[in-house]
Symmetry: C2
């Protein structure tokens, strides 16, 4: 089901309900880009430490917008031996809530946008109908701003306009004086007439600001309000009202504001509901999804990886990454390509079994025969199917074999809270609920060289050592993994007098790096 | 006329023709945002020097994308006393041209996007069908890359793959060895069979890279090519060909590449045509349009304002800004609101006259009765109309009065090459073809204070001096313009022992600033 700003309020209870009843929930996000560095490959090095990788992703990926969020809930129906699924595809956009709310800037990467465009992605739906969101902190700040303004209103005297960012109370610029004078005259006329309200001509936002300023200090008893014409031009309406009516209107305004505030929290409510449910959350290659979700809807990402793990676990106490699962025993042997589409394809064939699923009546679900890959709701659905197939496959090793393995089964524990680490050679996953693996890197050299060098130059340099593995860091440095640790000392010795390049052991490299970050 | 990637090639000759025949050309751009600072107002200070303003715009506005470009050509038809207009509305998007071409990142500001979305702007058209572009330098770089690759191809031996950004020749990762081995076996079978071609299964880009690598070095005589299935999945086709056929295919490929390269230059051709024509280019509040146009389609913006003026004048030798014109004598007195829509409205009333325009048969033009404001092509059209009305109005002061003033008239010279400076109090325009005005700022104080201060605190502080004007710089500083220069010394004296705030003259401020940028 597609969820936009238009039907969000109506659908939200359904979503919360589905989450409440689910055995597990699968998620997927679409972003406006992956890396703001010169290239995506610069973002990942095969020998990144988990800390390094986290730092890079945090620095170079969080300025993109997560603008489509797919959620699919799965509830097992024992009687029918089938999963009841509910898929929701949310369009997300940080529509500025008011003039004083933050004006979010986000980066788009043209390759990502072009890719989604070629898949028929509907950007208009995002930008015109995306659901807004706020982090907890942004929400509190907004609530405070409202409270403050209200307490000023209730106090006596004119409202002092609190500028959002130092623009301050303007003195009326020379070229606006005539304009403001005309408005004052009209208001004087209103007060001396039997008319109750006066609609001013539409004017610029700056002029409206000047009008509010002027009227609030000169005519504090009038009710002043900005309205919109049918053509969406904003104009000011001024009303003569008695004290009671004025209070009624203020109250109405407060109610409206409260509702607006709730609307502004928007999609973050869904994440809060999932978090509160404590249900298992499944994703495919989900590290970036988790980071973006927290960054955008919960709280700024902490600087340190350990703190991130803590925050993430508090938001999603149980995570499972199908890409990591598929890359792990006993699936690793059977599954050659772990990209989502391929994984799904392979899991429909022997020795695996496709789960049967069903969608509550009257609800459109996805049909796996007409692929809608890269729509977040569909990807979430598929991810859930992959998870079920793999989980059930684990049951086939039991004696007697079991054809259904529940999302709470002990058999799944080895896969919990381990997020796939893309393209790290020797660390398969980020361990979210404990310290990470620390592979030995004694056979790794850190090599620096002139920027003209190509991989072939490195192969040549180390040709005496047999098979090597090159992991580029940047134009002038790379890690070279030798096949045997004993070769390291020989390589170091022969490089001693080299002028064009320089070799350090991995340990030396780490040390030097630490010094640099400390100083 | 709407111009996208689909009809660009076909329409380009028409555009060039219209430009060639035009008396003047009006332009307008739509951007994904205005300022990447905390707020737009932080970008502008009422007492910015032209250099400061340029530096701010260059730093905080150029990372947005100019994604719709409107051009309207106007040719006067003496016989009919009417202007023949041609309006083109170009959708622009930096679709990555190939895997090795730059992957542009751009910023979106949600308020700007939301505004355009609310006006019905079609983002899908931009992202799916936007016309690409290259600066001169990007074009040369691409051409060089192609030449280089080609000369390698023509030389003997395998092509050494030149990685775009240090990813280098990969050794085949452990988990891909089986895959590559299978491909090699299939190729061996092809060579031993009577088949001419072999289509491999679709696979990932990374796998294709490995296949190219392997085949180029092991089977240099085969022709290897990437094709797409109907489902847009990329797969590799391998063909057995004789030397002649191989050469023919290479040649075809070269031709295709040349054409692709020309396509990649895309919209930049239009700007080059306008530039080459040397025609008068008219815009409304056009400083950002000019900066973005040069930045995106011509060359990176220089650091110094003077260098920018030189570059801009070499691209557009004659510019005219209708907002500046409308804010200048004799229009200033009559025109109260110089925003484009309002200006257009006012210029349709006395003492002005709407020009008659006509659009060549068969071409849809804009109809000013159904407003399409904020579509670049329409805004360009309206801007041209405003220019004509104002130009003709100048003719009414002649004796005898003239009802038509040509775009080349001497009467317009005072308005050439002066771009409106938004919200600078005492410098109306940026003088593109010479030094800027240097207004006296003897009556201006630079005041620093605690961040709790509001405008009212400043008013209070200077209450003895009558009318003042406050221009906020940031949370803790502002310029305060006094009404009389003599007051400056008094203010300085009384502030000598103040602890919470500090006052400097504008001259002192400039000096301190200069020291800071030099050191
Ligand atoms: N340089 C490099 N690129 C890789 C490697 N593995 C995958 N890729 C690239 O990363 C992209 C995504 O790969 P995949 O693992 O299938 O990811 P998924 O679709 O997100 O599950 C592919 O298009 C490959 O081009 C690798 O080991 N090295
Ligand atoms: N703070 C401030 N804002 C202004 C001032 N003049 C205009 N603006 C704002 O700038 C926007 C554009 O103004 P306008 O001059 O009409 O620009 P145009 O529509 O691009 O011609 C308006 O929406 C106003 O909110 C000013 O003097 N001070």
């Amino acid at each position: 089901m597609e969820v936009t700003r238009q039907n969000f309020k109506e659908v939200l209870p359904e979503v919360c309900n589905a989450v409440q009843e689910a055995d597990f929930i699968s998620i997927d996000g679409e972003f406006t880009g992956i890396s703001d560095g010169p290239s995506v490959s610069a973002l990942t090095n095969g020998l990144d430490t988990p800390e390094e990788r986290y730092t890079k992703l945090r620095k170079h990926s969080m300025n993109f917008l997560l603008f489509q969020f797919g959620i699919c809930t799965f509830r097992y129906d024992q009687a029918q031996s089938t999963y009841i699924t509910r898929a929701f595809n949310f369009y997300i956009f940080p529509k500025p809530f008011s003039r004083t709310s933050p004006d979010i800037k986000f980066i788009c990467q043209s390759s990502s946008i072009d890719f989604l465009a070629s898949q028929g992605f509907d950007f208009n739906k995002v930008f015109r109908s995306g659901i807004p969101y706020l982090t907890r902190e942004e929400e509190s700040q907004l609530r405070e701003q409202y409270e403050e303004r209200r307490s000023q209103m209730n106090g006596a005297g004119p409202v002092t306009y609190t500028p959002p960012s130092g623009t301050g109370v303007c003195s009326v610029p020379e070229d606006q004086r005539d304009f403001i004078r005309t408005v004052e005259q009209k208001v004087d006329a209103l007060l001396n007439s039997s008319d109750q309200t006066l609609d001013l001509e539409p004017c610029t936002g700056f002029q409206r600001k000047l009008i509010y300023q002027t009227l609030n200090s000169k005519f504090p008893k009038l009710h002043v309000e900005t309205l919109e014409t049918e053509k969406k031009e904003r104009f000011i309406q001024i009303s003569k009202v008695d004290e009671e009516e004025r209070r009624r209107r203020e109250q109405q305004k407060q109610q409206r504001e409260q509702e607006e505030l709730n609307d502004a929290v928007g999609f973050s409510r869904v994440i809060r509901a999932i978090s509160k449910s404590g249900k298992l959350v499944v994703g495919h290659n989900m590290l970036l999804d988790v980071m973006h979700t927290i960054h955008q809807f919960c709280a700024p990402l902490p600087e340190e990886l350990d703190d991130f793990k803590e925050v993430a676990m508090s938001v999603f106490p149980r995570l499972l990454d199908t890409k990591l699962m598929a890359s792990t025993q006993p699936f690793k042997e059977v599954i050659s390509n772990t990209s989502l589409a391929e994984l799904h394809k392979q899991l429909r064939e022997k020795p695996f079994k496709s789960p049967t699923t069903e969608c509550p009546e009257g609800l459109r679900s996805y049909d796996t025969s007409t692929e809608q890959l890269h729509e977040a709701g569909y990807d979430a659905f598929i991810t859930g199917l992959c998870f079920i197939s793999m989980a059930n496959h684990l049951g086939s090793f039991l004696t007697p074999p079991k054809s259904h393995i529940s999302a709470r089964s002990k058999l799944l524990e080895p896969f919990y809270n381990k997020l796939f680490l893309m393209r790290v050679i020797d660390i398969p996953y980020l361990n979210m609920s404990g310290p990470d693996l620390q592979p030995k890197r004694d056979h790794v050299l850190y090599v620096t060289f002139p920027k003209e060098w190509k991989t072939s130059d490195l192969y040549q340099l180390f040709s005496a050592f047999g098979n090597i593995q090159v992991s580029w860091i940047d134009d002038t440095s790379a890690f070279v993994s030798l096949s045997q640790t004993e070769q390291v000392q020989i390589a170091m010795n022969t490089s001693r007098y080299a002028e064009s390049y320089r070799i350090q052991t991995y340990a030396e490299y780490l040390q030097a790096r630490q010094k640099n970050t400390c100083s």
